[in-house]
Every structure is written in C-alpha cells, then in structure tokens.
Amino acid sequence: MSDNRDALWQALQEVKDPEIPTISLVDLGMIHRLQVEGKRVTVEILPTFVGCPALDIIRRDVRKRLLRVEGVADVEVKFVYHPPWTSERITEEGRKRLASFGIAPPRPAGDNPMDIVPPCPYCGAEGGEIQNLFGPTACRSIFYCRRCRQPFEGMKPV
C-alpha cells in the first residue's frame, strides 16, 4: 500500500504556508517524514518556529488535503523538533517562491551575527541594512534597501 507515496507528496506540495501562500510546506523543508500503514498516514512536520501560531491551521490543511488522496482514510499530523528546522532546509524552488512574494530568502549565517542582510528581493542590491530583527511573523526580519530606498522583509537565518 506504499505506492500512493508519490500522490501524497504531490498533495503536500499543494499545502501552502498559511502566511506565505506562494510556498508549500514541502519547499519550506517542513516535512520530515511520511509514513503509510495501510489506509493510515502519519506526517511528521518540523515547525519553523516553536511558537508559530499557524501550526493548528497547518495541521488542519494537511489533514484535509491528504484525506482527499485515494486510499487514505486517516491522517495524523505530528509536530516534531528533531532534527530542528533550520532555514537551510528551504529548497531552491522555495527560495525562488519566497522572493517572488517579496520576502528575501535567508542568507547563510556567517561569523558576524548581525551580518544577515540578504539581497533585496525587488532589485537584487546587496549591502542593505537591518531595520528590525523582528518582523510581522516570528520567522521574518525587516531590512532596508539602499538602492530601492524601501524596506523589505526577509526570512531570519535560524
């Protein structure tokens, strides 16, 4: 009964982040494991942030979508913290989709902890500044592009 795994992964590709509707949970690197036992599916999901308030919505959306896959009668969603979700888990496709939504994908954490300013998602300019380490959601910061002369959001490297 494990031959519907492709269909399940495809279905998960359609479940988007409730707060960034262009990117799927798969491209965010949040899906840790998918287990199929007969008609029962267990999905282990890595929260991007422990206190993310969207987790209940994510659980609901994942259940709803997977229950529509043929041969699935029961879906359990588990949030797990091992391995920890890190921003390096975001796929190439995910990075593109974040940028297209106006959120700069995270740059790899370097030696200087304040050196986290990503290129501007609008014009690509480097050398912006941190406006606020904290943003509209736990996983985002607010930066400023000196070329566009406007603020932009970016995912925190964690």
Binding site: G51, P53, Y81, T86, V158
Partner: protein, 262 residues
Amino acid sequence: MESAAEAAKISGYREALTELLFQLADDELVMGHRDSEWLGLAPDIEEDVAFSSIAQDEVGHSVYYFERLHELGETDSDRLAFDRGADRRRNAVVLERPNGDWAYTIARHFFYDVFDQIRLEALSTSGYVPLAHGVTKIRREEHYHLLHMRLWFTRLGSAGGEATERMRRAVRDLWTEIGGLFSLGDAESRLLEFGIIPIGAAELKRRWEDQVRPAFEEAKIPWPGSPAVPEIDGRKGEHTSDLERLLDSMTEVFRLDPAAKW
C-alpha cells in the same frame, strides 16, 4: 531517557524533571506576558513589533515545556498556564516584577536572555532527550532576542545623559533580585544526579557573569559585584503580590468561562 514513559520508571526522576520544566515554562510565560504589555506602548513602532514577536516566541516556548509536562501526566497546557495558583509557579521572582521604565525592561530582558542561553546550552545535552531536542530548536530563536537586548543595553548605557542615568538605576534595582534566576530550587541535587541538567546554580551563575561583564564594560556601567542570593526563591513557589496581579490580569478571560473552546 528517551520518553515520558521511561522517566516514570525511575523513582524520583519524574518529580525532579517536572520541577525543572515548570521553572522553564514559568520563566518564559511570565517574561512573555510582561513583553506583551508593551504592545502599543513601546517607545517606537520597531519596538512594538519586536516586543510582540518576542512575546509570541516566549509564550510559544512555554507551551513547548507545558506539553512535555502534559506527557509526564500533568494537565493540559491551557490549564497549566491559566489555572495554577501563584504558590505553584516556579518562575524567578525578578521576572514577575512590573516592567518599570524602558531601561528596566531592557536590562532585565538582557540579563534574562543571557541566562536563558546558558541554561539552554546546558540542557542541549540533557539526558532527557525530548527536552534536549526542544531546547536545541528554542536556542536558535532566543539568539535573536539576546542580540537585540544586548545592543539596546550597551547603547543606552553608553549614551550619556538620562539614558545612562536610567540604565544605571535599573541595574541597581535589578541587582538585589537577579541572583534568583540561577536557583534550581529544591530539585537541584536530583537534577544533577539524574543528568537532567549537567551544571548547577553556581556554574550557571559563573558562566552568566563571564558573559554579562563585557557588556557592562561596553555600556560603561560599573560592575556591581557578584549578585547575591535573594531572600525569596521563586523556584520554591515563593512569590510577591506582583505575581498575583499579573495572574489576575493574564487569566481574566480564561476565568470567565474555563470550559470555553477557542
């Protein structure tokens, strides 16, 4: 120790672990609640956003610890957060104090964040695996709180004028109670013996001083000496009327209808 079920098999293990989890959860919940009180009142919009986000992180972390407690047989996280008397709370007393001015808020948060990083680092090698996993994740988030507060602390401290004056006063006020952070309460020896935490109160404090002192130099604030152990110990359920008032306010909606589903 891989799970709650295993923890229940060794006499005294579960009790010691429960004490520590309440300390972690209550520190984060009380701090998060105090952070949320700045919403709409912070000195600028950036800090409104920052404190809302930090509050959300802290409360989220407390839920993580409450869920581990629930696995160990305690009631659910909503009841643990809202339906527990002050004498059953294990947060450090300094965290329940009202926010005071911006200087007090920043200095307290900075001192707490340094302590929390040290505690989380120690717990990332905890023998209780579910705790070690969670704190590994939580530590990566808390990193940003610490960066933020350290910058404010050193800038305000070294700014001169009223900022420096207020910062020095805040440090003086905090110093009588800040030592309460390091207490592990009555469970300390068992926590060490079971390998739930690898270091005790004295080492937590030593590491904290090592990290905080350079920030005092940068902030040009004279080092007030090693903090003393305060008279009342929140880790033993000893608290002030400030906690009562905080709980009254925090649990007001819950008490209207404890059975309500949100």
